[in-house]
Amino acid sequence: MNAKEIRELFPILHQEINGHPLVYLDNAATSQKPRSVIDAINHYYEWENSNVHRGVHTLGSRATDAYEGAREKVARFLNASSAQEIIFTRGTTTALNLVASSYARSVCGEGDEIVITPMEHHSNLIPWQQVAKATGATLKYIPMQPDGTIEVSDVEKTITERTKVVSVMYVSNVLGVINPIKEITAIAHRNGAVMVVDGAQSTPHMKVDVRDLDCDFYALSGHKMCGPTGIGALYGKKALLEAMEPIEFGGEMIDHVDLYDSTWKELPWKFEGGTPIIAGAVGLGAAIDFLEEIGLDAIDRHEAELAGLAYDRLSEIDGITIYGPREGRVGLVTFNLDDVHPHDVATVLDSDGIAVRAGHHCCQPLMRWLEVSATARASFYLYNTEDDVDRLVSSLIKTKEFFGHAIG
């Protein structure tokens, strides 16, 4: 794949920020959108917009086809058994909350365990804290190695026969590590627990096969994978989803409504109360088409190369600390520069047209584990190039000089 050619397909990337060509390195927060995704959303609103699953009229059918067609694409993309196993949600957060509120609350009780890791994003941590508080279950953490990786032997020790739910991020949004999800899933299953995977950071960057992983639930966000904001999906094994109660009630999700009782539609619609995010789903479908055309393996290789290069080049800067291992990571590098606070780093980089994230990355427990209050993060995607790494490195050297001089 040719990143420079791919870059041409993203309108937003062709602008100057503070007098410099934009270098967008905040892809782990949200990715940019290719022309084809923007066009698909426009086309939907210009030619197909209508409510789904109810209109007898032609537009109603077009909208329904577009919406359900997108679901088919997500199912195929994840290698799910059927589109019935794909619930559209607002994003990963909503998907994980659905599993926590519906599944976990119904199976957890006093003495049961929920197992997660200290590197989880708040969206895969707080829902489980809340389940633990409400049900009396215990929240347990798989310990981390000093380099931020997880040892399978520690997983073996943490998950027990009392464990009902294990939930782990496939890829860390801070450390960039790829967790051994398949192995963790096998251990969870051996102990009778279900496996939930936070796929927010993995789905955009690597091939995901939920049947190969054998996970029970898998959550993703559209906006991190070239799709629009406000759309995501939850994959769940059909038998589990069928046994689960909806957590949102209203239009679209019912079969029969009486004055005092109601029944639900079949999967997946019983979990999609209210008018769904139709244009968002259409945009997500277009994003999947786009990513598949380029190929996830090619994207994965390109990002690994950039991350390796960035890791090495940044390491050469005196006073830089990089978090997470060099190997086995996706395309992001989280770092700190001497005593310069990451906000100040991000401001200087921004003045050079470079967008990075600074802060706790919605991972406060992980920041405490790293013994820092905040970090800066450069995260790459398919349109980033070696030139972007060069620009990042020279701007960081400038930052160091600027603050070295200013603080003295």
Partner: protein
């Protein structure tokens, strides 16, 4: 965008040599405030007596803007009446909105006027002042 507009020498001096960094006795009014979006954190302590800010100290962690602002704020309000301190907080809000504000009482504060051009950093500069407001309100 000129970095020197933001990172003026006065700011860097307060960042490097913070005034009033430390803690007061337990009976002092204590306000802990976070900036949840970025993780900046301040603990402001004040001795408020007879309607006057007798003493103000802070601890915390954050960027050069939030920490220098805390240093300036504590210095600026020390010895002032509560009403005067609140008036200065109000003036500081104006400064952040780009209004032409002068601080005759404590000119260093004017160095933070450049923050206005960096919208993402305004919340860094206002953290300490928000803590001041909360502290005075809680004492009423």
């Amino acid at each position: 965008m000129q970095l020197d507009d933001l990172y003026r020498r006065v700011i860097m001096d307060h960042y490097k040599n913070p005034r009033n960094r430390g803690t007061l006795e337990d009976e002092a009014v204590t306000i802990n405030l976070n900036n949840p979006t970025c993780g900046d954190r301040i603990s402001l302590q004040m001795e408020l007596e007879d309607g006057i800010v007798k003493q103000a100290k802070f601890t915390g962690e954050g960027c050069s803007i939030s920490m220098s602002s805390a240093s300036m704020m504590t210095d600026a309000v020390k010895g002032k009446t509560l009403d005067k301190a609140l008036e200065m907080a109000e003036k500081f809000s104006g400064l952040m909105k780009g209004e032409p504000v002068e601080f005759d009482e404590y000119e260093d504060l004017e160095a933070l006027s450049g923050v206005n051009k960096f919208p993402a950093r305004i919340k860094c500069a206002t953290l300490a002042w928000n803590a001041l407001r909360k502290g005075i309100e809680s004492s009423k």
